[in-house]
């Protein structure tokens, strides 16, 4: 099963292609069914992945609030550059529908 999946980093980025904003926790919830067995699907690692994507100008920070534990929650949203890059380079890779 997992051999049909695209790499986790692609899946994280492509999650944003629906134009919605997501926090690290929400990305994990969305990818859990397919990528639950991945060791790097943790809050710390996904947060780092999103921060990297933001520094690489693929994502923008869109809003901030506190989560249920009183910790800062940053949500991100894709921008035009990110959409263009993802379309152009990894647009054709998709996961099987569950």
């Amino acid at each position: 099963m997992s051999s049909d999946l695209m790499p986790l980093y692609y899946a994280i980025l492509k999650q944003f292609m629906d134009g919605e904003e997501y926090s690290a926790g929400e990305i994990i919830d969305a990818l859990e069914p397919l990528y639950g067995s991945y060791k790097l699907l943790t809050k710390k690692d996904v947060e780092e992945a999103l921060a990297t994507a933001k520094e690489n100008a693929l994502l923008d920070e869109s809003s901030y609030d506190l989560d249920e534990h009183g910790e800062l929650r940053i949500r991100y949203q894709i921008n035009d550059f990110g959409r263009d890059m993802i379309d152009r380079y990894i647009g054709k890779y998709n996961n099987p529908q569950v």
Partner: protein, 374 residues
């Protein structure tokens, strides 16, 4: 305290924490660059490598190698061993994160292919040229001098970005490039005066390395932001190591006059204890790249590149520390520190790289903005 204030405070805290850690990582990456350079230089003085470079008989009766083999073929072999081992180290890191499946899948996608093309330019061409430069400067008396020349890759990357991708070249970048060129001219010029034409040959090859890495930096920056950085590094190092060992080294060996020299040299290098030092240099080459990316993600690519570029200073520093001051390898007298003017040149180079990467007026504005926002 209301909710908005609490969120603002947490954001400020987090940004500051990221910023400081990012600078720490990017600086550590520059230090690792310096250490990997130092250990390669050390490895090349040990065992059979020492005999090869001494230019006499080696391995108990084999005839001395030709100047071409010593300059070029051994450089490809050394670069290949270093990159291959660092590829293995980075694959082990991926295995620890259970990323090997993703590694394999990424290779078969477009961003993975771009990464491999970049590695083909940055590895066999640039890294080999870097080692050629190091070696001929070693022969001339001081390997440290060429490292700051190779660090021109930031300046060249900025110019290539302008030519290929129509990226902006602001005033601060142009000033930075001029500062770097000036520093490189000072270091190269004083080496020439003190050490003779061989040092200049070293500087020339270091310049080719800077060109290759500059190209790699500006293309890779475009194609690789879609790959997890740990996987990206593993692709880069394994591709570079394999191409250097299995294409560049045999190719150069054939040119120099014999297929027979391939197994002879490779066999001697692989069975010599100095191989372990290449394992160590490869170990430092891995975080040199991986901390660079991690640092970029935390303090911004521009500042990250600047901190990393401090290897212009750390390279000669660690060559001098490991082989000169600590006298590991027992050849201290052959590894003098740079002259005061050259150390100054290396520091000016670091300042120039900072100017290219970071707009000083903007950095200043950002800092004062953050201060008033708190």
């Amino acid at each position: 305290m209301d909710l908005d204030e609490r969120v603002t405070e947490l954001r400020t805290q987090r940004r500051r924490k990221y910023f400081v850690r990012g600078i720490a990582f990017a600086t550590a990456s520059g230090i690792c660059y310096g250490m990997y350079t130092g250990f390669i230089t050390l490895a090349e003085t040990q065992g059979v490598w020492g005999e090869w470079f001494a230019g006499g008989e080696w391995g108990g009766g084999n005839p001395a190698l030709s100047a071409f083999v010593i300059s070029f073929v051994l450089a490809a072999l050394a670069a290949g061993l270093n990159d291959f081992f660092s590829g293995i180290w980075s694959l082990l890191a991926c295995a620890k994160n259970r990323q090997l499946g993703d590694f394999w899948k990424t290779i078969k996608t477009k961003p993975g292919l771009i990464m491999m093309i970049c590695a083909a330019v940055g590895g066999p061409i640039a890294t080999t040229a870097y080692i050629i430069g190091l070696n001929s400067a070693t022969a001339a008396g001081n390997p440290g001098v060429i490292v700051p020349i190779a660090a021109l890759n930031c300046a060249i990357g900025a110019v290539l970005g302008r030519v290929f991708f129509k990226q902006e070249l602001n005033a601060h970048k142009i000033v930075g490039i001029l500062i770097c060129l000036f520093a490189a001219a000072v270091i190269g010029g004083t080496s020439f005066a003190a050490m003779g034409p061989e040092a200049l040959l070293g500087c020339l090859f270091a310049f080719i390395a800077a060109f290759g890495w500059g190209f790699e930096g500006c293309v890779a920056g475009f194609g690789t932001i879609l790959i997890d950085y740990r996987i990206g590094i593993a692709i880069r190092q394994t591709t570079a190591g394999i191409l250097e060992l299995f294409v560049m080294f045999p190719l150069l060996a054939c040119v120099s006059g014999g297929v027979g020299s391939i197994p002879e040299l490779a066999g001697a290098a692989l069975t010599d204890p100095a191989l372990l030092i290449f394992v160590v240099s490869g170990f430092f080459a891995m975080p040199a790249f991986s901390f660079w990316y991690k640092g970029n993600s935390m303090c911004g690519a521009a500042l990250g590149m600047a901190c990393n570029g401090m290897y212009a200073f750390w390279g000669p520093f660690f060559i001098w520390l490991i082989m000169g001051a600590l006298n590991i390898g027992g050849m201290a007298a052959d590894y003098p520190p740079l002259s005061p003017v050259q150390w100054l040149g290396a520091l000016i180079m670091v300042a120039g790289i900072f100017c290219i990467a970071v707009d000083p007026s903007r950095l200043f504005r950002k800092a004062s903005e953050e201060a008033t926002h708190v």
